[in-house]
Structure formats: structure tokens, C-alpha cells
């Protein structure tokens, strides 16, 4: 089973755990509570669900809490994970928009170690920062950074993104160097899926694939397309595909979904998510040398 751990940008949203499903085109339902499919973890979950329609996956398990960036909800969720993860049977576990907290990160990783079978671990956004800050990045199977986040992974001296050159001023022309540096200092997961103008699929520091087409110009304005890419990669990994193969198909499918949505700068990520079944079907059909 695939589980998604993350936050909903609403402080009143309670800590919930259970299967997530779609209701119509714009709404998720978990534990009887409706959540709009918008950027952040709900966009990631929406992408997983739409991909699951094509891939024949069971409904993912959601472990969600309300957090608006202050960390109160994240810390409650971390506490919950330390108590419940050891008893759970999961094959893929995605950590998403959570307040970075190294102590709690380490406790959660101990809980993962206590599971009967270790799931494949994916980290993105805040939890990925905590994984790097803890020095335990290699415990993860996949990180999905954007170029700024990659700069933080690549800066072996930075204790926090605040100290990193390139975290908010992206160095798009230096991505291969940043990948090499992140991996040389063991601050990257074994696999990276770097999101940007060109998406990079990486294993053990080696770039295995670059995906930069199709490219819809208006996609730059649409928030949440990085979340959907992580969701697609997670869904494809859940089918048992290799992580590089899952990353390559996910990058292509995400771009195709954007193109199929014919986006303008006012398009919302849900418009793109709803194109995922057609896009993913096409991306799987496109034969590439196996990686």
C-alpha cells in the first residue's frame, strides 16, 4: 500500500488517517472530510489517485493534518507517526509538506526502521530538508527537489536553507554540478528526480535521463506542478517499476498532462491533474531504452 504523509493548509483540519478518494473532479475525501484539490499535499494525492486509475492501484492511505507553516500540526503528525508506523504494512511512503524538524525526523525514521518490512521512502519539500539536515539522506530511496532545493542539498556546509546560495535564486545552468556535489557529500537520496525547466532522473549521482518536452509556457505560472510530479513518481513506484523508470515516465506524463490541459496562466493544478489518465497512458506507451 502507498501512504501519503503531509499537510492541508487549514489550521482547523484535524489529524486524520485513512483511505483517500476523489469526489468529482475537484475534491478529495478522507475520513469523511472533504478537501479541495489544490497545491500542496492535496495536489500530490490527486495526482496519485488519477494515476492509480490507469495503473490499477488501490486507494492510497492518507496521513494528513492541518498546518499553515507554523509547525504545530506537523509536530502532532510526527508524534502520531512514531506510534503508528511500526504496526503498518506499507510498500511506498511519501513525506511531503511538513515543517522541517530534525529531532522529529529522526524519531520518524526510527519508527520506519521498526516496521516489519521497510517501504520505499520518498521525501519532498519540508521533510526532505529535515532529511538532509539530519545527515540521513541516504536512508531515502527518492528525493524530488526543485533546483533551489537541490542547491540546499548540494551545500554540505549549510545547516538550513537560509545559508544556501541558490535556494531562492535558482542556478538552472549548474544542475549537473549540484547533483554531483549533493551525492558526493551523501546529502541526496539514492535517487533524485530534479524538477525544473529540464527534469533530471538520477541514480547514485549519475544522470540517467533528462526530460524537457513538451514544455507549455504557461505552466511556469501554475502552482502545484511539482507536487503532481512527486505524486506521479510515487504511484509508478508503487507498481513495482524501478525508481529511474518511474521517474522518467512521471516527468514525461506530468509535462504531457500540462500540454493536454492547454493551460493559460490562470489554470489551476486540478486542470492538469484531470489530464493525468490520458497523459500517463501516452507516456507509458512511449518506448524509451530501459533505464
Amino acid at each position: 500500500m502507498l501512504a501519503i504523509v503531509g499537510t492541508v493548509p487549514d489550521e482547523s483540519f484535524p489529524l486524520v488517517q485513512g483511505p483517500i478518494c476523489l469526489k468529482g473532479d475537484h475534491t478529495l475525501v478522507i475520513d469523511g472530510i472533504q478537501v479541495p484539490v489544490n497545491r500542496g499535499t492535496p495536489a500530490l494525492a490527486g495526482a496519485v489517485l488519477r494515476a492509480g486509475e490507469v495503473l490499477g492501484l488501490d486507494l492510497p492511505q492518507g496521513i494528513l493534518v492541518g498546518d499553515i507553516g507554523r509547525g504545530h500540526g506537523s509536530r502532532r503528525l510526527y508524534d502520531h507517526l512514531t506510534q503508528t508506523l511500526p504496526e503498518m504494512g506499507l510498500s511506498t511512503l511519501v513525506f511531503h509538506y511538513l515543517q522541517p524538524d530534525v529531532d522529529w525526523h529522526n524519531k520518524v525514521l526510527f519508527a520506519v526502521d521498526a516496521m516489519a518490512e521497510r517501504p520505499r521512502l520518498i521525501a519532498d519539500a519540508g521533510f526532505m530538508y529535515a532529511a538532509k539536515m539530519s545527515g540521513q539522506a541516504l536512508s531515502y530511496d527518492l528525493f524530488t527537489p526543485d533546483v533551489g532545493e537541490l542547491s540546499f542539498l548540494a551545500d554540505e556546509t549549510a545547516p538550513h536553507p537560509f545559508y544556501t546560495r541558490g535556494f531562492i535564486l535558482h542556478q538552472n545552468n549548474q544542475v549537473p554540478d549540484l547533483i554531483a556535489r549533493a551525492c558526493a557529500h551523501k546529502n541526496g537520496a539514492r535517487h533524485l528526480l530534479v524538477k525544473g525547466r529540464c527534469d533530471y532522473v538520477v541514480r547514485d549521482g549519475k544522470i540517467l535521463a533528462r526530460v524537457d518536452q513538451p514544455a507549455a509556457e504557461a505552466m511556469e505560472a501554475v502552482g502545484g506542478t511539482g507536487d503532481t510530479l512527486t505524486g506521479l513518481a510515487a504511484a509508478l513506484m508503487e507498481t513495482g517499476r524501478s525508481i529511474p523508470e518511474a521517474g522518467r515516465i512521471a516527468a514525461l506524463a506530468n509535462r504531457l498532462a500540462g500540454a493536454l490541459a492547454s493551460p493559460d496562466p490562470a489554470s489551476q493544478v486540478v486542470d492538469i491533474i484531470n489530464q493525468i489518465p490520458a497523459a500517463l497512458t501516452r507516456a507509458i506507451e512511449i518506448q524509451e531504452p530501459s533505464i
Binding site: 511538513l98 531562492i168 535564486l169 511556469e220 502552482g223
Partner: protein
């Protein structure tokens, strides 16, 4: 861990110096830059947050541009406030010229302003915020939820409801798009 406080500034500005009279202050981290910016602006200094020039390898993603003639006073005030810069560099060479944080893209009916990693897009005719993208900080989904769909004048300020560096960058984008709309 991730947050910082935004301090309100009075934004009194003094005489704008010629480019050759400028210097930059380099700090270890962006939190210190934001604190220094707020302190100096609250005291009426004409300072501006920019990106670091290619010729400076130390420091973080932001520097403060200031009137060089005032450097002794500014250094003293920042040191007294407990936020001394790593170094002060006169802008004497093109490689030492700080980088503009803003990039504007005109999509016809829509206008997008990027400040560092955060992008804010409005519909030109209505000035409704239609999208916010970029950034993986924990408050970004919340900022998008609160701002998208609102008129620029009625949307909450990201500097007031954000808690992170991405929130700060979005505040810069918000100020810049407002400036462009008021021209």
C-alpha cells in the same frame, strides 16, 4: 526553525545615490538580511535587497545595497543591533554589481512577476491574483490558498501571513506587481 519575524518599516527614503556610490552588505544567512533590511528601513536608510553579484562567493542568496558614503554609520548600527554583515563591498566592478531579484513576464491578459523563487500572476484587467507558484517552504500552500482568487488590494499580504523565506520572496513579488500596476 523555519520562520522569522517580519518587522514593519516606515520606508522613509533619502536621496538615491548614483550607481557608482553604492556598496553591498553580505550576510551569512537570509534571516539576517531580512532583519537588517527592516532595521535600516525603519531608520530611514535608502537600502534595497538584491541578489548577490557573481563576484562575491561568500554569504547567502540576498545582499543589501546601500549608499556607500554611509557605510561607517550603517556598519555601526548593524553591529550594535547584533547583525553585523560578513563583509561590506563597494560596487566598483561589473562583477560586483548586485542582481535584480525581479523578472516580469507578460502573458497578454496576464502578468507574472517572479521575485527570486516565487511567482505571482494576476489578470491584468481585474487585478485578480490567479496563481502563485514556486517554493517548497511549509507555508506556500497556505499563502496560495489565502491569496489566489482575491483582488491585489484585498489579498492578505504574504509578509504578514507568511513565515518563511518563500513568504518573504512572495512579499517582494507582491510589492513589485503592485508597483507595476500603479504606474
Amino acid at each position: 526553525m523555519f520562520g522569522f519575524n517580519f518587522f514593519k518599516s516606515k520606508d522613509k527614503t533619502r536621496k538615491t545615490p548614483c550607481p557608482e556610490d553604492l556598496g553591498i552588505l553580505v550576510f551569512e544567512n537570509t534571516s539576517e538580511v531580512i532583519q537588517a533590511e527592516n532595521l535600516l528601513k525603519s531608520r530611514g536608510w535608502a537600502v534595497k535587497v538584491m541578489g548577490p553579484p557573481p563576484g562575491i562567493q561568500s554569504g547567502c542568496d540576498l545582499v543589501i545595497q546601500f549608499p556607500l558614503i554611509e557605510h561607517l554609520v550603517l556598519m555601526r548600527q548593524l553591529t550594535e543591533a547584533g547583525i553585523p554583515p560578513l563583509e561590506m563591498v563597494p560596487v566598483t566592478d561589473p562583477l560586483l554589481k548586485p542582481v535584480d531579484l525581479f523578472h516580469t513576464k507578460d502573458f497578454g491578459a496576464y502578468l507574472m512577476v517572479r521575485a527570486a523563487n516565487m511567482k505571482l500572476t494576476i489578470e491584468k484587467e481585474t487585478k485578480i491574483i490567479v496563481n502563485i507558484s514556486g517554493g517548497g517552504c511549509p507555508d506556500v500552500p497556505y499563502l496560495a490558498r489565502k491569496m489566489v482568487g482575491n483582488h491585489l488590494d484585498q489579498a492578505p499580504r504574504p509578509g504578514k501571513i507568511g513565515h518563511t523565506l518563500c513568504g518573504y520572496a512572495l512579499e517582494l513579488a507582491y510589492e513589485e506587481i503592485n508597483r507595476q500596476c500603479s504606474q
